[in-house]
């Protein structure tokens, strides 16, 4: 039964006091006390866009000047983040806040390197329409760190870039819906030195794009428990058949088994490939270096395999180490950097997809920008990292040891039969998973 109380003067005073306290508490939470003259070091992740890098540095510096904080912003090549952060953790020389990828965040969160940011995560999410579900689930470190340790700020993932100018002349106006269709279209336009499939099969991150293709054929790295290797399967055999067929038809540019991280970019930008899977950085480069190529390029989601599409999203986050000497200022800075004013301008120059629902209304993610709208599509429809596999430390180890690209190399370089290549990959993967039991 609902009870109605009388509005006495005492109750009004009590309510006013409670409200004032709540407001005061909230404002204290939202804006922690910043110590004027204190120092803050920030490690930003260097990306392909100079404008975006400059914007991040200037925004942090301006925030520092406005709040009386001495800021030191160090931009770090993202290929070197693991080494630099590893060394900084070991030597207790971590910055006050930093940008990093999900892999490193998960690993270091297990070791208790970062403070939890649940309140900040919640308040930023509430203010901007909530986090995209794929981002929220992928960055949830609660099980390993007792709370959320990363504040997501952008997602990356692969789009399929295609030479529409060439393909449409060959009668392929639409993007390939399946990997088989992709190989068919690639074969139709394959005229060396112009090759159909500019996909890396080497021991670099781009080579691991093949894990998603394998998974879309129903192949797996490990079983549902995330403890037992499951590479050897009929689905993997089917996938290997697809790669071998394409290889035998010479659809891949020569050298793609030893490409470095820029191999597919270079192949596409130099007009050697009809298709590549890329984060969109190539599109930005083409826009600046080769407007004709940019105009002739279209972007779409990765094709599907017999078991559907596997298109992993890879969130990037900001985090505050426990070793930070100025955690309050670091939190305030992270909150400042999450504001729409900065992020809308930053996204326009960077090659990141949105992480918050409210960001999807930014002009950048409109249909006029094929790359950014593709990234919006990716965060809305993409799959979680490692899906359908379990994303754990063993999976990350297998990923970083290039188990799948090496299995492919056994088939296409050493001419091993599928079973022998799968047996080696299975054994190697199991040995990796056994380390984490």
């Amino acid at each position: 039964m609902k009870q109605h109380g009388h509005l006495t003067r005492r109750r009004i005073i009590q309510a006013t006091l409670a409200g004032t306290t709540a407001l005061a508490t909230r404002s204290a939470l939202a804006a922690p006390a910043l110590v004027k003259g204190s120092k803050l070091t920030y490690w930003g992740g260097l990306i392909f866009s100079d404008k975006a890098n400059k914007m991040l540095v200037e925004t942090i510096k301006k925030w520092g000047a406005d709040n009386g904080i001495q800021t030191d912003v160090v931009m770090i090549n993202q290929n070197e983040t693991v080494q630099k952060v590893s060394a900084a953790v070991a030597s207790n020389a971590m910055p006050d806040a930093l940008d990093l990828g999900l892999d490193l965040l998960l690993l270091l969160s297990r070791q208790g390197v970062f403070i939890t940011l649940d309140d900040l995560y919640t308040s930023v999410g509430k203010a901007q329409g909530g986090w995209f579900p794929a981002v929220a689930s992928a960055t949830d470190t609660t099980k390993v760190a007792g709370g959320r340790t990363g504040l997501p700020f952008g997602i990356t993932g692969n789009l399929l870039l295609r030479r529409n100018d060439v393909l449409s002349k060959a009668g392929f106006a639409k993007a390939p819906a399946t990997w088989e269709e992709l190989a068919t279209q690639a074969a139709a336009v394959n005229k060396p030195p112009f090759y159909g499939l500019g996909l890396a099969l080497s021991n670099v991150g781009d080579g691991n794009t093949q894990i998603g293709v394998l998974q879309s054929y129903g192949g797996r790295i490990a079983d549902d428990t995330g403890t037992k290797a499951a590479i050897k399967s009929d689905a993997t055999r089917e996938y290997l058949r697809w790669v071998k067929n394409a290889w035998d038809k010479k659809l891949f540019p020569p050298g793609n088994t030893t490409w470095d991280g820029a191999g597919d970019n270079n192949a596409y930008l130099s007009g050697q490939a009809a298709f590549i899977a890329n984060t969109g950085s190539v599109g930005i480069a083409a826009k600046n270096q080769d407007p004709e190529l940019f105009q002739g390029t279209l972007y779409s989601a990765l094709p599907a395999g017999p078991k559907g599409t596997v298109s992993p999203t890879d969130p990037n986050v900001r985090a505050i180490p426990k070793a930070s000497k100025n955690p309050d200022a670091a939190r305030a800075l992270l909150e400042h950097l999450a504001q729409p004013e900065f992020m809308s301008a930053y996204y326009a120059e960077a090659i990141y997809g949105p992480v918050l629902q409210g960001q999807s209304t930014f002009k950048t993610f409109g249909p006029q920008d094929a790359i950014h709208s593709g990234l919006l599509d990716l965060v809305q429809r993409g799959t979680a990292p490692a899906f359908p596999d379990v994303y754990n430390a063993a999976y990350a180890d297998a990923y970083n040891n290039f188990v799948v690209p090496k299995m492919i190399q056994r088939v296409v370089i050493d001419s091993w039969d599928f079973d022998r290549a799968m047996d080696e990959a299975q054994k190697q993967t199991q040995a990796i998973y056994d380390k984490y039991k």
Binding site: V85, L108, Q111, S202, T258, D260, D397
Partner: protein, 303 residues
Amino acid sequence: MTTATRRRPPGAGIWGTSQSRFAYTLVLPVVLLLAGLVAYPFLYAIYVAFTDRVVGNDGQWIGLANFRYLAQSPAFSAAVWNTIVLVVASDALKLLIGLGLALLVNRRFRFQGLFRSLLMLPWAMPAFVAFLTWRVLYQPIGGGINLLLTDSGIYPEIVDWLGQRSTAMPAVIAASVWRGFPFWFVSILAALQTIPVELYEAARVDGASAWQRFWAVTFPSIRPVVIITAVLSSIWTANSFENVWLLTQGGPSDATIVFPVLAYFGMQTQRLGEAAAVSVAMLPVLAILVFTGTHMMQRGEDE
């Protein structure tokens, strides 16, 4: 059997004479510096190899587990073989080229200084730039080597130098030799210039041929330098990372994987214990190299 009895010099305490104590005091800072900068990291790396240390966690002693994991890895056995092939082949070629050029440049001719400087350029160039340039030269499409071969009609087909098992390691060796031969060249040249001209004149008077003069005069004189150069160069080659990483990342299919690249993969997964185990696994080979080199030098001095 004889026994030697050590006698303390008159006036010497347990820590020696005041003179020797003073000498030890003078040496102490250097000893401490070496212990801190060399011995401690070296011994600590060996310790880490026996732990499951990861970034952010010191880990626990796990005995030989890291080594057992490495031993079953196909990449490890490939790395052992590839490292041996890379070291032996590239150092043999560096010796041949370095020695040949040193003998050539040791004669007097115009622009001798300029020629010597030019030969040193590969060594002066940053490794990063050098190997990226080689990578461009090896490109199947538009790469300088393929263009040269096809345009000149020497070989009409495009060769994927870095993408085939048969050519990847020779390509890495060729680039490593190009970058490393100047060290051999300059070391041998310096040794050649210390050989007294009178020895050659005496050999000529005795009717020795060019080959006999080289074998009886030149080679014994430069042998200690060749040995020390071989030891140093082998250690550097075995530890070299940029050449393989920038050219092939250890591929294709582990055809060029070497110890440092394998250790780097361990670092990428933040498993410091495992990465240290790779480095420690190299130690016996490097130790054999160092001891053999030292022994040969000692023997040369005794002779």
